[in-house]
Symmetry: C2
Subunit: 313 residues, 2 copies
């Protein structure tokens, strides 16, 4: 009978209830947020279903470990070269697209509809019939077109936009009008109205968005980062914003998180900061992935969403 | 050779150029923003393509008038009972849905994603990982499901929402999950998360949204008005907002416009005021309607978007 250890800082009980409710065949489940308890009673488990940040400390003790289902999309904590890789690592995919679309298009619409300017007029009780913009006909560039990028592309099409995609190799989304790869980065970024990065943190994405990228974008362009802070040269971004080379930014991720109090990003005009909250894991969605993968595990089928330790995603 | 008079306060020249560029067969066009000039030189025209507010003053003098293509969706100025109705009136339809979706969902997403609270934290340089909401799974009610309502329904479905529609009779949008009519108004409004009115100003819609409607909505509900201010009992709305019977409102239209400086709506918490700008006419879109209808007119076919003077839309 396989034993699974559920690890979650704040939601261990919620996850245990969700998994137990599914009545998975042959599964013995324990759940904790306490690392000492996990080591004392969970060391013999062959499955971990948990938050990646909690797992590295346990890895050396888990003699029977065969499979880790990460509760996040990003699995950086498990990619440290000193850590073992003799188990199957799967991550969370396909459950963040909707939330990311809500975040990204919420801010893009706000920008086009000049919500902050209108709100300022309202505070002054001033009836102000200034022109507003529209997403229709504008061009969005997606850095990374996995399941999240594909959802963003679909939403962009719904609003009548042109969509470019920059990917390592794949060209799977039907909502992307034109794909770019490798050295075509500047061609991809040229005169974009919106650049959205959903890139993970890997050796290939590090500092990919740098001065040369901002230099070819439209001066009206907005940069959105919902991927990882490491994909951006943050001082080049600050410089592009300060010199008005681009018009604004919406940033959910940063080189250092929490964003240091002395970062110039906090109060640049037309910059919106959020707190790595653009798409948080919803336990019911996450548990559905675990359940599906557990059934595959039990029947010896290949798991979904396997992470390639070398690629990092 | 039919003569057409283009009437626009600010864009007469732009419209004339757009119409002339289409090289419409047999059409003689003049354009002005000046009423005296319109009367002096345009009185013999059989067609008016213009902004409804400018037209009533000319109506008695237009001896040959056969067709008016209004540049707006709302044609109230032409519905006064003292005015002649011996011509075909067509209005603007099908070109506002996208803009209305951008406006409505921009504000709904902003609300769910707590953009204003996040921005407040940002101003205080505070890394604040508060929970945010999602549109997915929420219920939106559309008061009026014509071409604009149908577009809103499609966008709501894209974001995974349940959609209710309240209409006079028609049930044409496939994106509406359940339709309500006539006396089912309170059933329709019950426990809605979002209520969006796109109702025109007619005798049947006047004060339709009143205390009884707000009383059955969810206390978390947001009311959005992008139709006409007359469809709402504004003092009941103020009272519902002040007593927190509903959570907020996004208002583009009002009983009196511009909104009077002493209106309590200006600075109620969680109320966003805009300035009858949710969907302004885009001249290229509007001219496409005129062109299509002119070709129908020329060939004796029925025009599109004919207004029923009695219904008012």
């Amino acid at each position: 009978m396989p034993k699974a250890l559920i690890l979650s800082k704040k939601r261990a009980d919620e996850y245990r209830e969700l998994v137990e409710k599914a009545n998975l065949p042959d599964l013995d489940v324990m759940a904790t947020s306490d690392m000492a308890e996990a080591l004392a009673t969970g060391a013999e488990c062959e499955i971990i279903f948990g938050e990646p940040s909690l797992i590295p400390a346990l890895l050396p003790e888990m003699k029977n470990l065969r499979w880790v289902q990460a509760m996040w999309a990003g699995v950086e904590p498990l990619l440290e070269s000193s850590l073992r890789r003799d188990y199957t690592l799967t991550n969370a995919r396909g459950i963040f697209g909707g939330l990311m679309s809500e975040y990204v298009f919420g801010y893009l619409l706000m920008h086009e509809r000049r919500v902050m300017e209108h709100y300022q007029s309202q505070m002054e009780r001033r009836w102000e019939r200034a022109e507003t913009g529209t997403l229709r006909g504008k061009t969005i560039g997606l850095l990374g077109v996995g399941s999240i990028g594909a959802h963003l592309a679909e939403t962009a099409k719904h609003f009548g936009m042109s969509v470019r995609g920059y990917t390592r190799a794949s060209e799977t989304s039907p909502d992307v009008d034109s794909y770019y790869h490798g050295e075509d980065l500047l061609e991809f970024a040229k005169e974009l109205d919106f650049l959205v990065s959903v890139l993970p943190n890997t050796s290939e994405t590090r500092q990919l968005v740098d001065k040369s990228v901002f230099d070819v974008m439209s001066p009206q362009a907005i940069f959105v980062n919902v991927g990882r802070g490491s994909a951006v040269n943050e001082s080049a971004l600050v410089e592009a914003l300060q010199s008005k080379r681009i018009a604004g930014a919406v940033l959910d991720v940063f080189q250092t998180e929490p964003l240091p109090e002395n970062s110039p990003l906090w109060n640049l005009p037309n910059v919106f900061i959020t707190y790595h909250t653009s798409a948080r894991t919803v336990p019911t969605d996450m548990t559905s992935i675990f359940i599906e993968n557990y059934m595959r595990y039990l029947h010896g089928k290949e798991l979904k969403y396997i992470v390639d330790f070398k690629l990092g995603y």
